[in-house]
């Protein structure tokens, strides 16, 4: 129920069309159901009595009725489409806006593939169900009831027989659906599994071929595809009872009608006539058709219900990071302080990712952060821009707790160059403007010069108008990183965080970037997370992280003299040389 209520909120401006559709369908159905009734009069009163005038007159009535039905049907079709597609549009809109309000924690919860499915396929399923509900779900029951009533008026015996058959058949059809659906459902899930195998093969084709595992993979695939075959064919074999059942019902009705019908017509004490018999045949078709429609509604709704659930899940997900009321809207300076900060990604986790972190950084200082994989370097810097909330303790920026700021204001002054960074399809300028949408060409060039990106951009034939492909796949890793830094610099931040952002840049360029930072933006506090000692050795402070704790803090010289981890990293990198020597 909650699901329906939440989803129904997205109908909004399409309420009018939805209700109108139902009203139009309501009247259309009544008129349509009356057509055979009038037809029976035509046959009995007109044809039987050779009254051609009455025939013509009734034909005109019938034509008018049908034309009205036609117009109403078309109108209802138009409106239903507008309403259903409109609802989908609103649902997608709501989902996407909701997504934008998510915090990093919420984003981590949903994989991007699942978000795509929810916004696209799941919404389409709901659209189909809604279309069914506002049209067919009104049409079918009304037609069923009316046709039965009209049959009862003509002959209550036959009416009772119809009712009995309708109940039996309806029950059987719905029973079949509930029997078969689990197979289909499981089949579709297995299908995802099959696609997983294909995906794995595509990605690992070189491995498959190098190890001559084509046949092995093929067997793996065949096994799953056989499972799918079994599931679907079992489901369809059960569904195969559907149409014979319906056909059987029709034939049973025909047998009953032809026998009892003839008896009743011949019996002078009843009002049964040939024309009525003909209308009874039409009503039999109507009853059976509506039963088929009702079973189809069931199928559509079953399919849509799991989609609706998934959409609901995303819509009710609450962002756990929001600006507080009356927030601070100005970041005064670039001071950063951590006070007894503990952090874990989930409240349930037994182990803390960051454990009692304390440090203080003054505006303009350069802080290096070093540590092995899994030592929580990224987690630490993410807390500064309040991308996650601390579990306990306080993070202060500009001497104010980050929780007291307006989120947008805070993130405007803290530029984070993420480890897994993304450029978006568009020109270099488009991408740079993410940092400042009103940036002038001069400002952009200035930022790129700082990030040592200007030189290679100038070598592109289209320079700053060079088109970046999705994911930035047409520039090299080092170029991408430098563009990301330039983009962040355009924010003119008070705090700049580089999370392993120069790993693909060669050491000389890396040094040039740091030198430019020192000279051109001396008042910006800089956090540099790096694997290479050279990237951080001239920092004012170096934090050595180990297993979520600060192992040591100090300058290069101090650490080299006393810290074991630091020494180990330093000597490994210098003895083995290579990409970290200057």
């Amino acid at each position: 129920m909650d699901i329906i209520k939440t989803l129904a909120k997205s109908i909004r401006e399409y309420k009018k069309q939805s209700i109108l559709t139902m009203i139009i369908v309501f009247f259309e159905v009544i008129l349509e159901t009356l057509v055979p009734f009038v037809m029976s009069i035509l046959l009995d009163q007109g044809l039987k009595k050779n009254d051609l005038n009455l025939c013509f007159y009734l034909t005109i009535v019938l034509v008018v009725m049908t034309v009205i039905c036609f117009i109403a049907g078309v109108e209802a079709g138009f409106m239903a489409s507008t309403a259903a597609c409109g609802l989908t549009k609103n649902l997608r809109h709501d989902l996407y806006y909701k997504l934008q309000s998510y915090s990093f924690k919420n984003i981590d919860k949903f994989s991007s593939a699942s978000i795509v499915t929810r916004i696209t396929t799941d919404c389409t399923n709901v659209q189909n169900a809604y279309l069914m509900i506002i049209r067919t779900a009104i049409r079918a029951p009304i037609m069923l009831v009316l046709a039965l009533i009209l049959t009862f008026i003509s002959s209550w015996i036959i009416g009772l027989i119809y009712l009995g058959i309708a109940i039996l058949l309806g029950g059987a059809l719905i029973f079949i659906i509930f029997k078969a659906h689990p197979y289909f459902h499981k089949g579709v899930t297995t299908y995802d599994w099959l696609n997983g195998v294909v995906q794995e093969n595509l990605q690992g084709m070189r491995v498959v071929k190098s190890f001559n595992r084509e046949e092995f993979e093929n067997q793996k695939f065949n096994k799953i595809s056989t499972t799918i075959y079994k599931l679907f064919s079992t489901g369809e074999k059960i569904s195969a009872f559907n149409s014979p059942f319906v056909q059987f019902a029709i034939y049973a009705i025909m047998v009953v009608l032809s026998y009892f019908g003839s008896r009743l017509i011949v019996d002078p004490n009843t009002t049964m006539t040939t024309g009525v018999l003909s209308s009874l045949i039409s009503y039999a078709w109507m009853v059976l058709n509506t039963l088929i429609m009702i079973s189809m509604i069931f199928v559509t709704i079953i399919i849509a219900s799991s989609s609706a659930e998934r959409i609901y899940e995303m819509l009710v997900e609450q962002s756990d990071i929001t600006s507080k009321q009356n927030p601070v809207i100005e970041v005064k300076n670039g001071n950063v302080e951590f006070r007894h900060v503990n952090f874990a990604y989930s409240a349930k986790a037994s182990k803390l990712v960051l454990n009692d972190i304390n440090f203080k950084v003054k505006e303009g200082e350069v802080v290096g952060i070093l540590g092995g994989t899994g030592s929580s370097k990224t987690s630490l810097v993410n807390l500064i821009a309040r991308l996650y909330d601390v579990t306990s303790g306080e993070v202060l920026v500009g001497d104010v707790n980050v929780k007291d700021y307006d989120l947008a204001a805070l993130r405007d002054k803290i530029a984070v160059v993420l480890q897994k960074n993304t450029l978006f399809s568009g020109t270099i300028k488009d991408n740079l403007r993410w940092g400042d949408e009103n940036a002038t060409d001069e400002e952009m060039i200035e930022a790129c010069k700082l990030a040592q990106a200007d030189s290679f951009i100038e070598q592109f034939p289209d320079k700053y108008d060079t088109y970046i492909e999705q994911g930035g796949n047409n520039v090299s890793g080092g170029q991408k990183q430098r563009l990301c830094i330039a983009r962040a610099l355009l924010k003119k931040p008070k705090v700049l965080i580089l999370d392993d952002s120069t790993s693909a840049v060669d050491t000389r360029t890396d040094a040039l970037i740091r030198e430019a930072f020192r000279e051109k933006i001396p008042n910006t506090t800089k956090f540099i997370v790096a694997q290479r000692i050279t990237s951080i050795q001239d920092a004012d402070k170096i934090i050595v992280l180990d297993d979520g704790k600060i192992d040591d803090m100090g300058t290069h010289e101090e650490l080299l003299a006393r810290n074991k981890i630091y020494q180990e990293v330093y000597y490994t990198q210098n003895n083995k040389g290579g990409d970290n020597n200057e």
């Binding site: 037809m39 559907n242 011949v266 994911g471």
Partner: protein, 633 residues
């Protein structure tokens, strides 16, 4: 790189349908014939049902009403007729059950056959195909296109065959009953067909537009969701919302238009059918009263009124399927196109054989595993078979290569690697390092020159056997869903648990595996997401180690690991490299320092070669790379 895609002609709709039917025919010939017969039987029974109304009214009810004395004998006769008809009905229902049930097997079986075929064909494609087509493109054959094919084969096709039979049966029955009214029905139906065709073509147009809009929106969501964190960091949410709304509104417009035409199809066909039904009744009445020569009774009219419905209904159904069929055939066309891409050719005939070497160095082939291998080289001209021991000696003689004819990537490469030697390649992206390894295992074939393996031209070696003798560890470690043990065993399918564990120990992977809660039985999902990059790399090394090949290729195997982790991996690597011929491509020069020979590649040429110390002394490009003056990516 590959133009095959563009030059292939889209097959016509009939060819595609023909191909689908050939699948059905090949796999289920008997069942398909039974299905056809059953459909015809049930169609005929349905038509008889409608005709029976005429008989009932004109031959029994009317005479009985007109002459009450006939009631008793005619009622008796009618009872018998009804029993006969009821029997026919039973046959019809049984026939219907038979064909729907068989159709379930046929359609799902055909889909399975096509799917299996597609996967097997894909396994046989050369690497060049995968390099020149995106994964998304190939995946869409399995997902979107197979989905539409599934609907086509399991729903549209049976329904259309059924409708076709119904239309034909009803048509015949109508002409049998009364040719004049039959013509009237056909005349009226033709209007409906024209009208629905108009609607179908409109809806198909908008449907295609909807698909395009949807693809665009999906692409947007994909790209922006992957970068969602960047959006947050830059406060870019409002901008993203605006861009999304624009696409979303366009999609809504197109889908509303498309849906409008689809949604009015049914009410339009229905009501036009009703109109036809009214006119048939009226014209029937006129014939009955004014043109007695046509012999139209009230029974005939009632029958025809029902025929009109039974005739128009399937036409409506077919037209409703048509939009879908058009799209599905396009998808099927893409699948069949994909399946007709030429597979990897292999004309090699030199194979790898298990051998035993006697003390006087005589080599004899045996049929069990001995740990010793030899190339089995059959000489056609002399009819003699040579056995050449597998050692791992590789020579490039003046090798040139380009992925396309126009652009040569490697120019006149000469190099040799003696058994047990370690050869390293260094150079910028695009210098041709990976290309060289692609040539050794024949993922690509050279344009000119020769590559010899233990003195044999590798063209002559069967690809499977060639690759069996080469181990490869790539930068992107691809693990497969399964346990850790399964993943290690991938290198040698018949390896015992002990062998796998020994390989893991060799690769320095045993330590972390033991730490996992389920040890070697830990399930890896999603390519081993739960493991760190370094751990995945160690597993890839163990996988290569269990295969125990004489030649190893390490392509950027450690480049995405941090230096601390690399030290761990390095130990495993060193163990793996012992006593083997090894080709190393590395980003970090630290990895290649102790190679026997280092080749510096630049734009497809070897510009420097020598040991680390020699190259440092030369103060050339390698020296500059080493001191970090150049960017290496």
């Amino acid at each position: 790189m590959n133009n095959a895609k563009k030059t292939q002609v889209r097959p016509s709709a009939f060819k595609i349908l023909g191909r689908i039917f050939s699948y059905i025919w090949k796999n289920f010939p008997k069942r398909f014939i039974v299905v056809l017969i059953a459909i015809i039987v049930s169609g005929v029974v349905a038509a008889i049902n409608t005709m029976f109304i005429q008989v009932l009214v004109d031959h029994y009810i009317d005479p009985m009403v007109a002459d009450p004395t006939l009631v008793d004998p005619l009622m008796k006769e009618l009872s018998i007729v009804i029993i006969i008809i009821a029997c026919m009905y039973c046959i019809g229902v049984v026939a219907m059950y038979i064909y729907t049930r068989l159709m379930a097997v046929i359609s799902q079986g055909t889909l399975k056959a096509i799917r299996d075929d597609m996967f097997w064909k894909m396994q046989k494609l050369p690497i060049s195909y995968f390099d020149s087509h995106t994964h998304g493109e190939i995946m869409s054959y399995y997902t979107n296109d197979t989905d539409t094919l599934r609907q086509l084969i399991s729903m549209s096709l049976p329904q259309m065959i059924n409708c076709f039979v119904m239309i034909v049966c009803n048509l015949v029955a109508m002409f049998v009953l009364n040719w004049a009214l039959a013509l009237v029905v056909i005349f009226l139906t033709s209007f409906i067909v024209l009208f629905t065709r108009l609607l179908v073509s409109r809806s198909a147009k908008y449907f295609k537009e909807t698909q395009l809009c949807l693809a665009e929106e999906t692409g947007f969501i994909e790209e922006y969701t992957n970068g969602q964190k960047v959006i947050k960091v830059f406060n870019h949410e409002r901008k993203a919302e605006q861009a999304f709304d624009k696409l979303n509104n366009e999609l809504c417009k197109a889908s509303t238009a498309g849906n409008k035409y689809t949604n009015i199809l049914m009410p339009a066909a229905n009501n036009l059918g009703n109109l036809a039904y009214i006119f048939v009744a009226l014209i029937g009445a006129v014939f009955a009263i004014k043109v007695p020569s046509l012999d139209v009774g009230i029974g005939t009219i009632i029958a025809f009124v029902n025929f009109t419905k039974a005739f128009i209904n399937p036409i409506g159904q077919v037209s409703q399927q048509l939009t879908f069929v058009i799209l599905a055939l396009a998808g099927a066309g893409r699948i069949f196109n994909f399946m007709s891409v030429a597979p990897e050719v292999d004309n090699g005939y030199v194979t790898l054989a298990n051998v035993e070497v006697s003390e006087d160095k005589k080599i004899t082939e045996v049929d069990h595993w001995t740990g010793k291998w030899a190339w089995k080289h059959y000489h056609k001209d002399t009819g003699k078979t040579d056995y050449i021991p597998l050692k791992g000696d590789i020579v490039f003689e003046d090798v040139c290569f380009g992925y396309t004819k126009e652009k040569e990537i490697l120019h006149h490469i000469n190099l040799y690697a003696r058994p047990g030697q370690k050869v390293a390649f260094v150079g910028a992206t695009g210098a041709g390092k990976t290309t060289i390894t692609n040539l050794i295992n024949r993922f690509y074939d050279i344009t000119s020159g020769k590559i010899r393996y233990d003195g044999i031209n590798i063209d002559k070696i069967k690809k499977d056997d060639l690759r069996k003798s080469l181990g490869i560890v790539l930068q992107d470690t691809n693990l497969f869903t399964g346990t850790i043990m399964d993943n290690i065993r991938y290198g040698k399918l018949d390896a015992t648990d002990e062998e796998c564990i020994a390989a893991a120990k060799l690769a320095n992977a045993d330590g972390f595996i033991q730490m996992l809660p389920e040890g070697y039985n830990t399930m890896l999902l999603g390519g081993g997401m739960s493991l760190s990059q370094g751990q995945r790399q160690l597993l890839a090394i163990a996988r290569a180690a269990v295969a125990n090949p004489p030649v190893m290729i390490l392509d950027e195997a450690t480049s995405s690991i941090d230096t601390r982790t690399e030290r761990l991996v390095q130990k495993g690597m060193d163990a793996l490299m012992e006593n083997r011929t090894v080709f190393v491509i590395a980003h970090r020069l630290s990895t290649v320092q102790n190679s026997d020979v280092i080749m510096v590649l630049d734009h497809g040429n070897i510009i420097e070669r020598g040991t680390h110390d020699q190259l440092i002394a030369q103060k050339g490009v390698y020296y500059q790379l080493y001191t970090g003056a150049f960017e290496l990516e």
